[in-house]
């Protein structure tokens, strides 16, 4: 600690304390009556509007590693590093095609994770398990990489560098992640959402000051680009090849335009398949919020473009280049060293604080997403099918701790080059979910076994190809690109094409053989609905989406609520509108008076916009029911939406308003 600048260190610590307090205070922000529900803990009540979603998704997508690694790649290899800018341009036009559909169907059916949707769409536990496994697998190294970002800052600050003991050296990292783990446990998704305001503000300040100030110190943009061009066209004596590329060349193997394009496209396709970005999107309160953010988030990408150019600024600054060389040529340190050299210590402290906070926000969301995947699609699906929402939340909280500490060990113990390349492999893995998730949002044509076979083939191909890739310094996991048919392409894209081809061919075969397809619990119109009320969210004490459908909205003509029109569902499936339940059925034992939901059919919920015009009888019943409920029982007649795919009304026993309503309509 002898070389630590006191001012810089103090500012980083103060910012960290502010963030810690904010994280704990977030538990009271948009307070829920019962935090022990995954919709509250894991999705913050699904109530975020455009503004909060923009900050949160920005904080979620653009991580600390982005601030450190993207300019590091530009610093080390040149134009290929700009693929990150290219892919963040493409990601939103791609996401706007499928993300609103995923939001809608998830809202209607109370899906918390993408694997929930896959389970409901294909009626396949195996496919859902594959998606959950892939999501967790891809997220682990991603969380670890946030720590690598923090470590880069700590190294430049000189914290812990004097000790050879791994534990002592990483004490600040342990402290940061213990605090992160605790406030995530307590506040859930609310914590990173609130902290992302601080993070994004700091990052904007950092980047805008840097792009206006540093070029004036380095002789202008012309000099910066000139230095980069000279450097990347010169020959590296060690490899006898150019150091990098200033503009992606159209020919020759290496950093070609095709590599650039496939890397961009593959990464863009992968980004909104990651569970943590989907978690961020599902937390928004309306479908239009998701769409609106797709057009607003490119503003954040401008920031990324400017951040990437910090790599060239570092290259033009001789002191930074010398500092990086003195640290074994670790390019991850280029940006922290640049800021340390260019700015007074107090501003360097602000920047380092921004990077540290920028690591904590996405790491928290990633841990929550991984925990939700485990709880919903592994624990509940295979070990405890009758888990209550409270138990689900408790398990998620503990798993989020385990995930974070697993990532911590990952970051501390494994060599960083290994971790960084595993992150690239994470993109390869998560892309294999695309056919089942994105395909499933548009068609039910694919066979579940075909998708599983395609997924397996894609995962194997991608993993083996990435493992085999080597460089002069690294024998395995050296790159995420491979040579296919004489062209360098992103492994993830090749793997997903193989995955898709197998899924299509096997689907044709299985359909011809009339292999059972599994029950699809979704309906076509559910992919475009925009329900105001959330599904089965505990009644919030304060603001939030859940109040929108409450009885307080009765004066409004349009009441959007969620009720289970079982008869309608049965009609849609060609079943009798009403059937008595067998004795011992959980619906009956759970107090559904004269329930008529068949045990083997899901107690599906639907979203109805009730107006006197389109549903006269339903509307009048609802008004009476709501008033009675509100007036005499003193409860808010907000009907929770519950979507269950099996065991019918097991969970609907909590749905008192729904029960009451069915009772009324039956009479």
């Amino acid at each position: 600690m002898s070389h630590v600048n006191a001012t810089t260190f103090t500012i980083v610590v103060v910012l960290f304390l502010v963030v810690t307090l904010t994280g704990f205070a977030a538990a009271r922000w948009r307070r829920a009556e019962d935090m022990m529900h995954l919709n509250e803990w894991g999705l913050a009540g699904r109530g975020f509007g455009t503004f909060i979603t923009w900050f949160m998704l920005g904080g979620d997508v653009y991580t600390a590693y982005t601030y450190v690694a993207v300019p590091a790649l530009v610093f080390g290899s040149g134009a290929i590093g700009m693929f990150a800018v290219s892919y963040t341009i493409m990601v939103y036009p791609i996401a706007i095609i499928f993300l609103p559909r995923l939001w809608s169907v998830s809202r209607v059916h109370n899906y918390v994770t993408p694997a929930d949707f896959i389970r409901g769409r294909y009626g396949s536990r195996g496919l859902s398990l594959a998606a959950a496994f892939t999501g967790i697998l891809a997220l682990m190294p991603y969380i670890a990489l946030q720590l690598v970002g923090i470590q880069a800052v700590l190294t430049v600050m000189g914290v812990g560098t004097s000790s050879n003991n791994t534990f002592v050296k990483n004490v600040p990292l342990f402290v940061a992640f213990i605090v992160l783990a605790v406030f995530t446990y307590v506040s859930g998704l609310r914590a990173p959402a609130l902290i992302s305001f601080i993070k994004d503000t700091l990052v904007y300040v950092m980047v805008l000051v840097a792009v206006f100030y540093i070029p004036t110190k380095l002789g202008g943009w012309g000099h910066i680009f000139g230095t980069a061009q000279t450097h990347f066209t010169s020959i590296n004596p060690a490899t006898k090849k150019p150091y990098g590329t200033f503009i992606p060349p159209s020919k020759a193997l290496g950093n070609t335009q095709l590599d650039f394009a496939t890397l961009s496209l593959g990464s863009a396709m992968a980004l909104f398949l990651y569970p943590h970005t989907i978690t961020g999107a599902l937390a928004s309160k309306r479908r239009y919020v998701v769409k609106r953010n797709m057009s607003l988030l490119p503003i954040y990408s401008i920031l990324l473009g400017l951040i990437a150019l910090l790599g060239y600024m570092a290259l033009a600054d001789k002191t930074t280049v010398a500092n990086v060389k003195s640290h074994d040529g670790n390019a991850q340190l280029a940006v922290p060293f640049l800021f340390q050299h260019m700015f007074p210590s107090w501003f360097a402290g602000v920047v380092f604080g921004a990077v540290v906070i920028g690591a904590l926000v996405p790491a928290a969301i990633m841990a929550i997403a991984a925990a939700n995947l485990f709880t919903r699609n592994i624990f509940k699906e295979f070990f405890k099918p009758d888990a209550t929402p409270r138990l689900e939340t408790r398990v998620s909280q503990w798993v989020s701790l385990v995930v974070k500490f697993g990532a911590l060990l990952f970051a501390v113990e494994l060599p960083h080059t290994f971790a960084i390349n595993l992150q690239l492999l994470g993109g390869v893995w998560i892309l294999q979910v695309a056919p089942m998730l994105v395909g499933g949002l548009f068609t039910r044509w694919f066979d579940r076994w075909a998708l599983l076979a395609g997924w397996l083939a894609g995962m194997l191909f991608g993993t083996i190809a990435a493992y085999k890739s080597s460089s002069p310094t690294v024998s395995h996991w050296a790159s995420s690109s491979d040579i296919e048919f004489g062209h360098t392409v992103y492994i993830g894209l090749s793997a997903v094409i193989i995955n898709l081809v197998i899924a299509v061919i096997l689907s044709v075969i299985f359909r011809a053989l009339k292999v059972p397809q599994g029950a699809d619990e979704t309906l076509p119109h559910q992919y475009t609905v925009d329900p105001v009320s959330g599904p089965a969210v505990p009644t919030p004490a304060g603001v939030g989406p859940a109040t929108a459908g409450a009885v307080g909205d009765l004066p409004q003509l349009f009441i959007t609520t969620v009720v289970p029109p079982v008869a309608t569902l049965h009609r849609a499936r060609g079943l009798p509108a009403s059937r008595p339940l067998p004795k011992g059925d959980p619906c009956r034992t759970n107090g559904h008076p004269g329930g008529f939901v068949r045990h083997e059919y899901p107690c599906r919920t639907r979203t109805l916009r009730l107006t006197p015009k389109n549903h006269p009888s339903l509307f009048s019943y609802w008004v009476v029911a709501s008033l009675v409920w509100h007036r005499y029982l003193g409860m808010v007649a907000r009907t929770p939406l519950r979507s269950r795919r099996s065991m019918a009304c097991r969970q609907c026993s909590r749905c008192l308003a729904g029960t009451f309503f069915r009772c009324m309509t039956r009479r």
Partner: protein, 89 residues
């Protein structure tokens, strides 16, 4: 509890030009980034910025505007937000 099924026409079929515009805007946004030869050159420079870097930075607001137009057009198509309570498929 009679609930008349609302038969809705396919919005894409009902508004072919709007649908085509939406598709064009979305795929145009992707294509103009994906097809690297469009912008993989140093010239023409914009100030001190080589064209490759300037293009990538300048294209982002274009995408933002294009997607905002897509959102507005989709409202006109009525594919979302309007059917939150409808029964029809």
């Amino acid at each position: 509890m009679t609930q008349p099924a609302v038969q809705r026409t396919n919005p894409v079929r009902a508004h072919p030009w709007i649908s085509a515009t939406i598709a064009l805007l979305i795929f145009g946004c992707i294509f103009c980034t994906l097809y690297v030869p469009i912008y993989a050159s140093i010239t023409p420079k914009a100030g001190d910025f080589p064209f490759f870097y300037f293009y990538l930075l300048a294209y982002m607001p274009v995408v933002a505007i294009a997607l905002w137009i897509v959102m507005q057009l989709q409202k006109r198509l009525g594919v979302d937000g309007t059917d939150s309570g409808e029964e029809g498929k």
